[in-house]
Symmetry: C2
Amino acid sequence: MNVGIYIYDDAEVLDFSGPFEVFSTASRFLPNTNKFNVFLISEKQGKVKARGSYSVNTDYDITNYPSLDVLIISGGVHTEELKKENVVKWISTVSKSTKIVASVCTGAFLLAKAKVITNHNVTTHWEDIEDLRKSYPLLKVHENKRWIDEKNVITSGGISAGIDMSLHLVCKLHSNELAEKTAKQMEFNWMKNS
Amino acid sequence: MNVGIYIYDDAEVLDFSGPFEVFSTASRFLPNTNKFNVFLISEKQGKVKARGSYSVNTDYDITNYPSLDVLIISGGVHTEELKKENVVKWISTVSKSTKIVASVCTGAFLLAKAKVITNHNVTTHWEDIEDLRKSYPLLKVHENKRWIDEKNVITSGGISAGIDMSLHLVCKLHSNELAEKTAKQMEFNWMKNS
């Protein structure tokens, strides 16, 4: 089960490290033959300077990566990313062949730009709710939700809500038991009431 | 205010990225002259392969780093780190000149080995409580605590508890108002009842 997390310069650190932690922790309870293979993808493979000058190395670029079961788009300072036609086109194309597409925080803007979410029920960071509504009036943008799952397109609230959403993905892709074990291992108070 | 987070190969991703997120998010609310300067330190500066093959680049090594106000020791697979005399000695030495020393998760074992915690009230990951008690019988090791603050030596519970502890540090070093704003920005349900 390949889980790719898309990041970029000024991506929010917890938006991608939170989901990474969930899938890698969940995998510790799974046999070698059935683990989540979680990795980072960026436009160009290599060093990415996430928000706060946090330097992380991605595993793949958008032209060369394993086939994905899950694609997660990180939020952060996403405005420069929206301007990149190749990135938006890649998100649009790969989303068609991926079981689950998800966003954390303002990653929802990238999903909207790529038309992965069009008239869906969605959410984003509380500070960006109005901007998302105005930019994409057909979207039904909800407040005070940790995540919203509509037809395998899942958007989460801001920053730490990506952890709750990722636990939901573990539940969906494997079992509630594994998601509960993962939350306990992370000593994380999983907010399920999406 | 310099906040250094010590990491190593097989450090737990959320143990260091969670505190990093807290201090960098808190800084967005602060003027340029008064921000938290948060960075990663490792034995040798450069690439560190954290748990789950998460590749991150540290800013400094233990022989060359800015003077620290706060030192946070990440948990993870810490056993190899305990064997490194230079690392343990560094933790011991630097802790004497640092306002606050903290550990996340099994980082407490490194603080104990370095004699930063001796007969203190402390906590660690729930799975490691017994091991810490047996290894350092003079420590008073508590269960079911998000963090314990004793004389500016602060230990936290497992993985995500490092976020709660870091918010406590923001509160202690700046104000409860800033810690609350940071938690809201991160959409994090801060568990204060330490």
